[in-house]
Every structure is written in structure tokens, then in C-alpha cells.
Symmetry: C2
Subunit: 265 residues, 2 copies
């Protein structure tokens, strides 16, 4: 059995391209339709009701593209809206929280895990609940880092003030002696070097994008939904604002040029 | 002649409350209806088409509240969309660009003016055009400062890295020897102290919010549209997302609590 329909991925904007990069490595033959809600980005400062409404609209768009699986690449939408979305749609829907949480649980040695993300992701407690459900003895410490996204989008990875800001945000987590840190926002892998430098080399950084791609493969494989092909998959990119800025920022995430982003209508 | 209808003010979010603060001082008797598009904030990274579409919807909301004048408090929307909005609606519409530009023109002594704002405001060249229209001999230098809004919203006005970031952004303007700097984003007056410290005390900072409030008084007065009353005006606040975060952040801008923000439906 095989299924040639594309995988649908949505994010509040450009950050979800980290998931596309991971999918490209792990499921290279699959076609992908990406939707970035660049007209309404960011989600991380907005309410559950609003993020859920936007997410429903985004999945409705992907459904019109006949997708076989939806990946909610946005940590905020996964944190606030996943349960509701799963009840709304028949297609399998995968968020980034559970895969990231599972990886952290299997990685920590001292049972002390940190999470960084948007204000909405952190205050939702979603990672906390997902980790405690697997192992209630793990202590979880959250920290929102609102400056990390604009710093990443400026491309300021090595500036001294970037390190100062990272040190300021991460100090409470260092003080808690965590040995595992979940990068709970799709932009944060871009900040990996400075985060690792601040936390020290003994702290393992978990990238949810990679974990969700692995889980997508397991789900498709177990349901006979993998595409049978040896060719490279086709990737289509849609955005809700004009694509110019998206295409420009995309290079930061994919390390290559996107040529075919279109405005969704 | 007098007119008891309210003044309508909209912004992409909470920043336009700097205009409310100025209106409260300059037109204390007037009723005001404020709309903050908190579900879709920010506008400063988005395209002209999208910002214009959002702005039309925002004014349609204000029109349903029977406003006598609309103030576009958002610098980005004023920069990208004002001409179109003026053609769409019969009510007088006032943006923040012209008032800020006029003040800068009358203030500069060496004919070298700087502007800081969002990426969209700066790349639109709107302040530049407005200034050159009054005095083409003035040189205008723009700089976008994307980190200023999240720094202001974190309340990090006095951190050493805030000063480092301000110094980094403002260096090109210092090098150009400007003597007047327009704070071309409603959040930036919150950063006034650090900006003034970096620029030096001889550089005059122009706050568009104050200037637009003065111009609103002139327009209402000259058209016989002022409200005849000695009571304090009523202010109503509407937002497109849940009001919780708006009410919290509002204190930074108004230095008092908003008690009556409602979600617009």
C-alpha cells in the first residue's frame, strides 16, 4: 500500500521550515505542502482562542490540497490547540510537543529538563504535561525568550549582546541544573550555538523539528501511507502575506533558496 | 457648532495608546473609541497589501461606532496605506507621518533628520517623502530597529544590552550628524531615555503621537467638530484578540489601568 498525497505542514510563519528541513532528510521522497500564516504571525503572544481559530483555518487550507497528514510545526499552536484540532479533522494531525517531550524524557539523566519557547507555549504548560505523563518524576522548568525570534531574524547569532540576552534568559535554567533543554520554538535551532555556549556542552539540546519528522515517518509507515517513489519529493510553499519577506527569511532556515512560494487565496 | 461623536483611533496593537495619552492631555473632553488589532499584530513586518486590507477592516469597525475622525496611530499603516484609506472613507482620516514630519522640519537646525521605525515604515520612505515635500533641502536618514518593540514589551529599558542594541542601531544616524530624530513607531517613546542617552542631549526626539493629537485638535476645531462639554471624555477600548495581554501591556503606555477593554466582534 502506498499514498502519493502530500504531507501538510503549517506554521505561524517561516519558523516551521525547520520541520521541512528535517522532513527532507528523513522522508526525502514525500511531497509536502507548507502553509505559513505570515499575515498574522506571530502566534506566541496571542490567546488560545485566537491561535485555535487561525489553526483551524490553516488546516482547512491544507485539506483543500488533499494532504494525508498534517504537521503542526508551530510550538504555540501545538501547545494551545492540538487537542481541539484533532477533534475537528479526520486527517491524522501531529504536533511538535509530544515528539520533543519524548526525546527529552529518554535523554535526561538527572530528571531535570528545561524548556524555552514563546510566552504562550511556556504559560500553557503543554511540554510540562507531556513530559509528566511519561515520567512524573521529571522536574520541568520553563522560560519564555521573546527576544530570540527577532534576534534570529536579524541574523544576530554572534553579537555580544545576543550572548548577554541568552545568558539573562537562561540563567534560571542553569541555576536549576537541567541536563536537557527543549528548543520549544521553531526559530531557536538557529540560536543553537549561543544557547549551547551559555548552557555548557553537557546540556543536551532537543530540537522538536527533528523529532516530529521521525514520528511522521513512523505514522506513515505503520499506516501504509508512505509514498512509493525514488524521486525527490515536491515541496510547495504557500503564505498568507506577500511571499517576498518569507522567501528572504527562508534562506536562514533551509540554507537554500525557495523559488515557488505563493500567496494563498 | 459642536459634535458629540467620538474620535476613532486604531493601531496594530497596544502601541497606539501613546496617541490616547496625548489626546487625553490635548483634547480631554473628547470621547474616544480605540481599536487594537492584537490578533494580527505586528504590522511592521508585513506587506502594503496586507496592512491596507487590515486597516480598511479596522476603520470599518470604527465607522460602526459612529466616529467623527479617524486617527491611524500605527506608523506602519500610516506609511503604507493612508492615501488609499482616505480615498475609501468619507470621514476625515489623520495619520502620524505628516504631523511628525512637520515637527521635524520646524525643529532641525542643520537640515539633517533621522527616522527610526519598523522595517515596513523605513522601507516605505513615507517620512522621507513627507519631509522633502515641505523642505527638499533636508537630508533624511532612516533606520529600522526591530528589536526595540520586544525590548520595550519586556520592560527592559535600563539593561546594559538594551543600551548596546540601541547604540548598534543608532550608530549610522549618529555618524550622519542628525540633530533631530523622529520616533517613528508608537512603542519607541517608551525607549526615549536610552535613545536620548545614545544620541546625546543635543539631538531632539520627535514623538509623532503628540504631534498628531495637536493636529486632531486643529482639524476638529476648524470644522466645528469639537465636543462641547466640560466633563472628562469616555474612552472605550476594543481589541481583536482576548483583552488580557492588552490590558497588562497598556499600563506601560498609559501609566494607568484600563478597565474596560473588550474583544471586538
Amino acid at each position: 500500500m502506498s499514498d502519493a498525497r502530500p504531507i501538510g505542514v503549517f506554521d505561524s510563519g517561516v519558523g516551521g521550515l525547520t520541520v521541512i528541513a528535517a522532513l527532507t532528510r528523513i522522508l526525502p521522497h514525500e511531497d509536502i505542502v507548507y502553509f505559513g500564516d505570515t499575515a498574522r504571525v506571530p502566534y506566541g503572544t496571542k490567546s488560545k482562542e485566537t491561535v485555535t481559530r487561525f489553526s483551524v483555518e490553516n488546516i482547512e487550507f491544507l485539506m483543500r490540497k488533499n494532504v494525508k497528514l498534517v504537521i503542526v510545526a508551530c510550538n504555540t499552536a501545538s501547545s494551545l490547540s492540538l487537542d481541539f484540532l484533532k477533534r475537528c479533522f479526520r486527517v491524522p494531525i501531529l504536533g511538535v510537543i509530544d515528539p520533543g517531550a519524548k526525546c527529552a524524557v529518554s535523554s535526561t539523566r538527572n530528571n531535570r529538563v528545561g524548556i524555552i519557547g514563546t510566552s504562550a507555549t511556556i504559560s500553557s504548560g503543554a511540554y510540562d504535561k507531556a513530559i509528566k505523563k511519561i515520567n512524573p518524576r521529571i522536574s520541568v522548568f520553563g522560560q519564555s525568550c521573546p527576544l530570540f525570534v527577532p534576534l534570529a531574524e536579524e541574523g544576530w547569532f554572534n553579537k555580544s549582546f545576543t550572548k548577554d540576552i541568552a545568558a539573562f534568559y537562561l540563567k534560571p535554567l542553569k541555576d536549576r541544573m537541567i541536563d536537557t533543554l527543549i528548543l520549544g520554538c521553531t526559530h531557536y535551532p538557529l540560536m543553537r550555538d549561543v544557547i549551547q555556549a551559555v548552557m555548557g556542552k553537557n546540556v543536551l539540546l532537543v530540537d522538536s523539528a527533528k523529532e516530529v519528522a521521525k514520528e511522521a515517518r513512523i505514522i506513515l509507515d505503520s499506516s501504509g501511507l508512505l509514498k512509493e517513489s525514488h524521486g525527490v519529493g515536491r515541496h510547495c510553499f504557500f503564505v498568507s502575506d506577500e511571499p517576498g519577506r518569507f522567501v528572504k527569511t527562508a534562506r536562514l532556515f533551509l540554507r537554500k533558496r525557495i523559488t515557488c512560494a505563493r500567496k494563498a487565496v
